[in-house]
Symmetry: C2
Subunit: 213 residues, 2 copies
DNA sequence: AAAAACACTTACAGCTCGTGTAAGGCTTTT
DNA sequence: AAAAGCCTTACACGAGCTGTAAGTGTTTTT
């Protein structure tokens, strides 16, 4: 069974989360004393750490860096408003967790989409018995979408994935890459599509085939 | 259980083969009457056909073409001297059979090497948890080697795989591609190496790490 | 031991394909 | 209807794969 550690100071949120994870079959460690958090985490050796960024004392951000330096445990960073108590949000979170865990298991590096698999290192797409090689940028885009499990992905994050910087965003370049991605997705008959969230970003959602009059 | 049909007129060889396959857990159909062979084969609907090229009556070659036209059953062509009764040869043959069958099963297109897998469509190589994308030509070469399961592969066949023709062989171009392939194999720490068979071709064999004084 | 045949290496130039740029059209919102 | 956001297409640059060429090793043969 996989161990997940929760680092979240708000008690209500923490217990809510803990419940969700336990029901999903994970072993959960809750951090309740916010002193030497890094030490506590390392000693309980979880497979994944859920980290809220607004912590008392040591900032979540510096903690994250400390962890990255001292171990290779994957850390999933949450902002408090990202996983409100709505049940559908919970599902999304669980999807992300599953993906991250799978990645860090030995045979990792295969991301799961609806009806296909994506290899994160080569951007090979496995779909319907075939396998296709995606161009790098399209692979990166699909990767980010899958890591967000159907959630809206802001443009800055897409740019970050493509060019490693969120500083200067070339709206148009991103746009072109998305267009190309759509075309190959259509060509492969994928059951998902990219829909724009005006002014914010994009989501990858199940495709509704036009069965109207 | 997988069905394999044997088309071989020499009785001794045929029964030898049949034994080998049955021990390996396949269902075996032996063709003993060499009239309307194609019809017989189609009616027993095997998953794989083992075909000896020197047949009486209809030549093995034309039979092969007939089969390819009328069905998509994979045909493995053997020359009589290719699988003499030596036990190690038997192993090689079984390896080839396993590979061909795997390819034609739904999830097919993954070839098995010692310690790695090769995707035949994208030439993605899965090794030690990583996955790497091979350049097309190197992928084709590795593919041919694996399909021959450690057997010597003649140069003409390598050229055929690379350029689709066996007519004009550019020895040097082949050579260069092999060199490149060796380099990437070394870089990936693969436990196999390519050794030349003077004047004939090349084989892919287990690597002996130099543990001498 | 010299020659011939074969095997290997390296550097270079052409080409393919993915990518960013640019310019303009379309659609939704105000 | 004007503005803001989104989309499409065509073009040119560049990275990486490939074949060519020329030359060096290595093994076999004479």
């Amino acid at each position: 069974m996989k161990r997940i550690a929760i680092v979240e100071d708000e008690r209500f949120m923490r217990e809510e989360l803990s419940d969700l994870l336990k029901k999903a079959g994970y072993a959960v460690d809750e951090i309740t004393v916010f002193d030497d958090v890094a030490g506590q985490l390392l000693s309980c050796a979880p497979d994944l750490i859920l980290l809220d960024l607004n912590l008392p004392g040591e900032s979540g951000f510096s903690l994250c860096r400390t962890l990255k330096r001292q171990s290779s445990v994957p850390v999933l960073v949450l902002r408090a408003d990202e996983y409100l108590t709505k049940p559908c949000r919970g599902e999304r979170l669980l999807a992300r967790i599953r993906n991250v865990l799978k990645r860090f298991e030995g045979r990792g590096n295969l991301l799961e989409g609806t009806g296909y698999l994506l290899d994160r290192q080569t951007y090979t797409l496995y779909i319907q018995g075939r396998s296709v090689l995606l161009p790098k940028n399209q692979g990166k885009l699909l990767e980010v979408f899958l890591l967000h499990g159907g959630e809206t992905v802001p443009k800055e994050e897409l740019c970050l994935a493509l060019w490693g910087t969120t500083e200067y965003i070339d709206e148009n370049a991103l746009q072109v890459n998305l267009t190309r991605m759509k075309k190959t997705m259509a060509g492969l008959g994928m059951a998902q599509q990219i829909v724009p969230m005006r002014g914010v970003g994009y989501r990858l959602v199940a495709k509704e085939d036009g069965n109207e009059a």
